[in-house]
């Protein structure tokens, strides 16, 4: 902790964080999952620096090195711990770069969907009336269709591409956030502090944003973690089917799809390893999300 002059300002958030960490670390699995996820996040952010080579730099990739099995070495002495793919790219580097794309698309779409969905959900709960009825009917209808179908409808209409995939993922996800935000805002809006804010004649906008919204964050964070895992998986599926990201933005799904054609010749590593990376990412996010859900669940609180 910093100098004593700063002590006052540091104390409050520290106890909050410390309590959070104490609650969180009750589950060793969740701690390991968080650690794994942070490692993956680090790799994704710093992919160009931690990768052994740049898999998309055409000058350093040699087609002669294609489909080398894991642990082999090429003539110039480069070592490929996870082997190479059909174009002679180092699998490990391709996976690092793929994580970057997958996590980036997942996080961006999740964030926009969170903002969009939460605004709709919060204002639906706050204003009520016809706006609430109509919005929540739309949410109900959308949630009665599986996410892959919604994504197929959107991508069939718009075509493939990075921004189109992100739009599709946002449109698939916003309803989950809207529902969660509305549910907790309905509870919050009848509490005394909101009444107090009304008595102070604060504007609707201010009451929603700075009074109700912060108190609805816990369930939204839980939905957010689990939805992000879902979005990453959905993007991988769409890219594997060739409907999501283009070949210029190779996400993990696309890498797996590339390996699919070599599968029958027994070159298992080309699609297995990107899949393992995808699986580890999704499982670690899900486990962190599960623990967060248990922590914020009032019924399980001691």
């Amino acid at each position: 902790m910093g100098a004593s002059a700063n002590k006052q300002s540091f104390d409050l958030p520290a106890t909050g964080l410390r309590k959070f960490w104490l609650d969180f670390s009750e589950s060793p699995t969740a701690v390991i999952a968080l650690f794994v996820f942070l490692t993956i996040l680090f790799i994704a952010i710093f992919a160009p620096w931690v990768s052994p080579s740049n898999p998309y730099d055409l000058t350093s990739v040699d087609i002669m090195n294609s489909r080398l099995p894991p642990g082999s070495e090429d003539f110039s002495g480069n070592f490929y711990i996870l082997g190479t793919d059909g174009a002679g790219r180092d699998m490990l580097s391709a996976i690092f770069y793929g994580l970057r794309v997958s996590l980036g698309v997942g996080a961006l779409s999740g964030l926009v969907a969170l903002i969009l969905g939460a605004s709709i959900g919060l204002s639906a709960a706050y204003f009520g009336g016809r706006f609430e009825t109509i919005m929540m009917r739309i949410v109900d209808i959308q949630l009665s269709f599986p996410s892959i179908l919604m994504a197929l409808i959107i991508l069939a209409a718009f075509g493939k591409g990075v921004e189109k995939t992100i739009i599709a993922l946002i449109l698939v996800q916003w309803a989950y956030y809207a529902r969660a935000a509305r549910a907790s805002a309905l509870v919050e809006k009848n509490k005394e502090y909101v009444e107090a804010a009304h008595c102070l004649a604060l504007g609707d906008r201010r009451i929603i944003l700075s009074h109700i919204a912060p108190n609805c964050m816990a369930p939204l964070i839980v939905v957010g973690t689990l939805q992000t895992a879902h979005a990453i998986s959905l993007e991988a599926t769409l890219s594997f089917l060739g409907l999501g990201l283009p070949i210029t933005e190779p996400s993990l799904g696309l890498l797996i799809g590339n390996g699919f054609e070599y599968m029958y010749s027994g070159d298992f590593w080309i699609s297995i390893f990107p899949g393992v990376a995808l699986l580890i990412t999704i499982v670690s996010i899900n486990l962190v999300g599960d623990q967060l859900r248990d922590m914020f669940n009032p019924r399980l609180q001691k």
């Binding site: 209808i141 197929l152 594997f240 797996i256 029958y264």
Partner: protein, 324 residues
């Protein structure tokens, strides 16, 4: 009861109407309908003729009206690739998809309910923990990747099961299906298991949660106090009461099995309508895409309706609450 069914049916029609509007707007207004609905190899005279035939020079509201009118007559356009009515193509491939989805559903229920009940009855045992860990994995693993692993292990490595196609089919009581031949069964096993895995996980979780809740109820304590055999308590008192959420899920999940079969069918080259839609999106065969989306929306709305009606039969509180 009649009032409830009537009201729910009316709601379903509204949803159907809205979804048809979305699909219509998606294909005809977001994209360029001339691009999407006319064969790209057509010359100018052909393009003009088709624009007139399709009524693309008419106001949008009128176009939508004709789209709905034609859809009611079973005319959803003609495939560019196959030159056949889109609806016919999809209906031809529907049995293969239905069969895959049904076998998967069966697998999910037959394995999922007993495993879930076991995990709920003995939450601390090692086996239960393994089951639950497995269900988390089943939730997290992307379907298409599991499919690849299954092919690699069972078809390429061990060479036990075939990995592509539907195999021999046989007709029994007017139903043609792979499940009536040994070869067909060996073909359906891997894709069905692949498709079932995700649902299996949710059935396990649901059965476990239901069991843990029901087991604390007084009627279970009473049944045990009466000295009934544990197997009877589980089979009659427990099973009946955890069935409501499970039936809802089975109904709803059947629809999502059909939707997710697009992925499994692509991996296993299963000749169903899911593979057809992916191929059609690739080939820009828009009439087939629109027809598929409309059909699957109808299937979904019908399933939701049936589930809601079943639900209200099983649990009268639902319809009483709905009326008041």
């Amino acid at each position: 009861m009649t009032a409830f069914i009537l009201r729910r049916s009316l709601q379903s029609i509204v949803v159907l109407f809205i979804m048809s509007l979305i699909v219509f707007v998606g294909v005809n207004l977001v994209g360029d309908p001339v691009d999407m609905l006319i064969n790209p190899e057509a010359d100018q005279a052909e393009i003009d003729r088709v624009i007139r035939d399709l009524g693309l020079d008419r106001p949008v509201s009128e176009q939508y009206w004709y789209f709905v009118l034609n859809a009611f007559q079973g005319d959803l356009g003609r495939s560019f690739i196959f030159g056949e009515p889109a609806l016919k193509l999809i209906v031809q491939r529907m049995p293969a998809t239905m069969e895959l989805a049904l076998v998967s559903l069966l697998m999910a229920v037959v394995f999922g309910i007993p495993l879930g009940i076991y995990a709920g009855l003995k939450p601390t045992s090692k086996i239960s923990k393994t089951i639950m860990a497995g269900s988390i994995l089943g939730f997290s693993m992307p379907t298409f990747w599991v499919g690849i692993i299954l092919i690699m292990f069972f078809s390429v490595h061990l060479g036990w099961l075939p990995s592509t196609g539907r195999g021999d089919v046989d007709t029994f009581f007017g139903v043609t299906s792979s499940v009536f031949t040994l070869d067909g069964l060996s073909h359906i096993f891997l894709p069905a298991f692949n498709l079932a895995l995700f649902k299996l996980s949710s059935v396990i979780r649901l059965a476990r949660a239901g069991t843990r809740e029901v087991i604390l109820q007084d009627y279970i304590k009473f049944a045990r106090a009466k000295g009934l055999a544990e197997s009877r308590v589980v089979r009659i008192h427990l099973l009946k009461n955890i069935m409501i959420p499970v039936i809802t899920i089975i109904g709803l999940e059947f629809g999502s099995l059909i939707a997710f079969s697009t992925v499994t069918e692509t991996v296993f080259a299963w000749p169903g309508m899911g593979k057809l839609i992916i191929d059609s999106i690739y080939n820009l065969d828009r009439p087939v895409v629109v027809a598929y989306l409309m059909i699957i929306v109808v299937i979904f709305v019908m399933l939701n309706l049936i589930v809601d009606i079943l639900y209200s039969v099983l649990d009268p509180r639902v319809r009483i609450k709905g009326v008041s």
